[in-house]
């Protein structure tokens, strides 16, 4: 009897540990890594993306997991807070890749941290998708890097053109942006686009990310009397403070902010009056029937029901991007990052809740790895977002022709 009990217990132990290890009968776990700011002024980007990827994973897991050649994979997200610091980001990337053995990092924001992360992912052939800005983050030597969501290289021209249409007399622009890779990219992208339209840049200011008071910087900027104040890549809370202080110092003109992906946070800090006439291209009224698809409105409602707050644009793109990644994994029956990356470009266009999506802009990066979808311009009026117009990047227009939102 004792022998039987011992054998049974031993078998049970083997079954328990064998059952949940790799290659077990209960299926495997595919761990996806997240290395993003989850606190501080840049948290809206990191948190939104983590939730977006998690939502895409939950959809797959609810259907039994990823089915790759008959083997089931449960998807699991492991995210760490890099506080928008490059050194933390590199350290977390090392941990994810060497300790957690991830082959996919799909949550990352802020250009400087993206550069730090890719120093680890590129040499380890890890798939790396992000919202980080910076031209050097995509390229032929980084075949597994993808950007989900617009950066200035995808949107500045269309965005500044749309603002100029509304303010045809605008002759000068002043930019204020963080003093790092994404900050420079954001500011210089808009300055380049403005120059093409005959708008001169009268001030180009950069600040350190932990700066909270902008009175001195704004004194310098506003003394040049710009027609447009451009907050470029400012994070939500910081941008809210800049808007507030600019208003207190007498600036009531139009504002542009190409990185404002969650205007509600900024409007709460700045106040309705300070945010008036703020033009955005990566945050629009997702619940308005104007220039949105029903599927987007459904996704937003699902998110807001679950999290009781607004969803950041880059989180929405991370959700769409993750759906594309997982669908390609299933399509080609592989979780090999290199194969999935190739398939993502080969199998486009994608019909998503954002509208048609392609990966393009090879003209800028040398590889078509930047996500492109219809760009919607919005404006803040009386504390609310109003959708004004939309446009298609040339690479997207080539594929979908004169696609329009159903009205």
């Amino acid at each position: 009897m004792k022998k039987v009990i011992c054998i049974f217990t031993g078998l049970l132990i083997v079954a328990m540990f064998g059952g949940f290890g790799p290659g077990s009968a209960f299926g495997e776990t595919l761990v996806i890594g997240g290395d993003a700011p989850l606190s501080g002024p840049a948290a809206s980007w990191g948190i939104g993306q983590a939730r977006g990827v998690q939502m895409a994973m939950d959809e797959i897991n609810a259907k039994g997991g990823l089915n790759i050649k008959g083997k089931k994979y449960t998807l699991k997200l492991v995210s760490y807070d890099n506080k928008a610091q490059a050194n933390e980001a590199a350290s977390i990337a090392n941990k994810l890749i060497y300790s957690e053995k991830v082959k996919y990092i799909m949550v990352a924001a802020v250009g400087a941290t993206g550069r730090a992360i890719q120093t680890v992912t590129v040499r380890n052939n890890v798939f790396f998708s992000f919202s980080c800005w910076g031209k050097m983050l995509l390229g032929p030597k980084k075949p597994l890097n993808f950007r989900f969501g617009f950066s200035p290289y995808e949107m500045s021209d269309a965005y500044v053109q749309a603002v100029k249409k509304i303010y045809p007399n605008a002759k000068t622009i002043a930019t204020i942006s963080p003093n790092d890779t994404s900050g420079w990219d954001g500011a210089k992208g808009d300055i380049r686009a403005a120059k093409k339209l005959g708008i001169k840049c009268v001030a180009e200011e950069y600040y350190e990310r932990d700066q909270t008071d902008f009175h001195a910087t704004l004194t310098r900027i506003l003394s040049k009397k710009p027609d447009i104040l451009d907050l470029a890549t400012s994070p939500m809370s910081t941008g809210g403070v800049i808007l507030k202080q600019a208003y207190e110092m007498g600036y009531k003109g139009p504002k542009a902010w190409n990185a404002c992906s969650m205007a509600s946070v900024a409007i709460k800090i700045a106040g309705k009056e300070a945010a008036e006439d703020l033009f955005l291209c990566v945050n629009w009224n997702y619940l308005s029937p104007k220039f949105t698809l029903p599927a987007l409105r459904e996704a937003i409602k699902k998110y807001e029901d679950k999290y009781k707050e607004d969803w950041d644009y880059y989180g929405i793109c991370a959700y769409a991007g993750a759906q594309i990644v997982f669908s390609n994994m299933q399509k080609i029956h592989s979780i090999d990052p290199a194969k999935v990356a190739k398939a993502m470009v080969a199998n486009q266009p994608y019909d998503t809740f954002l509208g048609p999506v392609v990966f393009g802009n090879a003209e800028v990066y040398g590889v078509p790895h930047a996500m492109l979808h219809p760009l919607v311009l919005s404006r803040v009026h009386n504390g609310q977002l109003e959708n004004m117009s939309f446009g298609l990047h040339p690479d997207l227009a080539k594929v979908v022709g004169d696609w329009k939102f159903p009205q």
Binding site: H215, A216, T217, T219, E248
Partner: protein
């Protein structure tokens, strides 16, 4: 740049200077009486910010009552911390420093767990803009500047004219003599710690609506506080006043004409030179 713009910059410099002084005074008070450097001082400023978020923003408590609540609640909490943690490390700078570093993480991460990762906005307590000679001034900033000055004056009156304040000064001059005179050292140390952190909490309330509230807002402030107390002289309250005004003006005034990295270099270069020729700071004790 015209006279009006310079006046606006000076006013903003004064506002920043007042609030830096308020925070740094608490730090220097703690050092002068307990002889410890509390690296977690900035976190009490952060706790003050969250107090304004909870009471003023969410529960709609009167703004001035919120300030009083911040002083009492956070100051009271600080007294408990002093009794439980710092009491055994009085006059031991390095152990107290290490312990306070740990407290930084505990407090900031606790607030993050309780309130989440998002930065919090606090409604403007005194909305409106006034125009003086064509220049716009925020009413809020004006009032914050005045409040800062009043609180510094109140602290001065407390230290100079009250029995507790005299006891504090006695301890800084000669602790043994103070003990012989019947001063309750333990009690005074706890009060000093509570008052110091309470002042930082009030600064958090004042600045919470000017900027925003986050669990990481303590870190930049503690660095500035240390610069002020080193500049002014460790343990010297008049030195703290002078150091705060100098830093407020350099930080804001110089930032108009120079970039932030250059201003940072100038600030640290100035401290470096000062410490070579006057290690005790501008008004520090020998």
């Amino acid at each position: 740049m015209g006279t009006q713009e310079i006046l606006a910059i000076l006013l903003n410099s004064l506002m920043l200077g007042m609030l830096y002084i308020l925070i740094a005074m608490g730090l220097t008070l703690v050092y002068s009486i307990l002889e410890i450097v509390n690296f977690a001082h900035g976190e009490f400023y952060m706790l003050g910010g969250f107090t304004s978020y909870v009471f003023f923003s969410q529960l709609h408590v009167n703004y001035f009552l919120t300030m009083l609540l911040a002083f009492v609640l956070i100051g009271g909490f600080a007294v408990i911390i002093e009794k439980l943690i710092f009491k055994r490390y009085r006059e031991q700078i390095l152990p107290a420093f290490m312990v306070s570093l740990g407290l930084v993480w505990i407090l900031s991460e606790s607030m993050r767990l309780i309130f989440g990762n998002w930065d919090k906005s606090v409604p403007v307590a005194f909305p409106g803009i006034i125009k003086i000679g064509g220049l716009s001034f925020s009413v809020e900033r004006l009032i914050v500047t005045i409040m800062g000055a009043i609180l510094i004056a109140l602290l001065y009156i407390f230290i100079r004219f009250t029995k507790t304040g005299r006891a504090m000064r006695a301890i800084t001059q000669d602790k043994d003599a103070a003990l012989l005179q019947g001063v309750n050292i333990d009690f005074i140390c706890s009060i000093a710690f509570g008052v110091g952190c309470g002042l930082a909490a009030i600064a958090g309330v004042l600045l919470g609506s000017v900027f925003y509230v986050s669990s990481t807002m303590g870190a930049p402030v503690i660095m500035k506080s240390f610069i002020i107390i080193i500049l002014g002289g460790l343990g010297s309250i008049p030195g703290c006043l002078l150091g705060g005004l100098i830093l407020g003006f350099i930080d804001n005034f110089a930032s108009v004409f120079l970039t932030v990295p250059k201003v940072t270099i100038i600030t640290f270069a100035m401290i470096f030179v000062l410490l070579i020729f006057r290690p005790r700071g501008l008004l520090g004790h020998e």
